[in-house]
Symmetry: C2
Subunit: 91 residues, 2 copies
DNA sequence: TACATATATCGAAACATTTGAATACTTGAA
DNA sequence: TTCAAGTATTCAAATGTTTCGATATATGTA
């Protein structure tokens, strides 16, 4: 994972709304529906869509279409790689 | 560690210059001098000072004055706490 | 088909970040 | 003391982010 990717993931994590989205996966096992995220956050639908896009662009979330709905799963592999990079900072 | 703190650390990590500073600790054991960071980055002194301030404000770096010079040590504890929070995202 | 629901995009306002020139501050040395 | 070196602050310009209203797109259903 190069520094540009670390930067992108870090930026995706640098917002309390997006952190709250990721933490919601602890409650909702498996996947989280887009509509559930709209309910979770006190923001309009376009704002929520914007935040979800950043998490998807950073590859922290993987989107899956289900008819009219959209659900997300956490990309544990990318999260693990990111954590590995942070661990390597410790000399 | 609350979400505001996670946000702050993430934001401190969301810049390739600041990531490069942290990675430099792997080479220079123990501590890193402010002047060394100026040499490392292709930025003016005020810009470097700005980046170092963000890392200090996020408590990722601990500053120590040495006469006219300033050196930094990596705050492994904060880094560990941050990594713990990320690990908890994985359900 | 026509309609309703779910999600994305556009456009603009407000706000934050990054950068460097100029300058101020701090401290050791002459 | 004065001077020079190391670091911080101020200011402004450029750029990026967040938010929402309005609107577009996509898809299931009557």
């Amino acid at each position: 994972m190069d520094n540009k990717k670390i930067e992108k993931i870090s930026r995706a994590l640098s917002d309390t709304s997006r952190i709250a989205i990721l933490q919601e996966f602890k409650k909702k096992k498996d996947c989280l529906y887009c509509a559930e995220v709209n309910d979770l956050l006190d923001l309009t639908q376009p704002s929520v869509s914007h935040h979800l896009k950043q998490l998807v662009d950073a590859e922290l979330l993987l989107p899956q279409k289900e008819g009219r709905n959209l659900k997300y799963v956490l990309n544990q592999q990318v999260l693990d790689e990111y954590i590995d990079c942070l661990n390597k900072l410790k000399d």
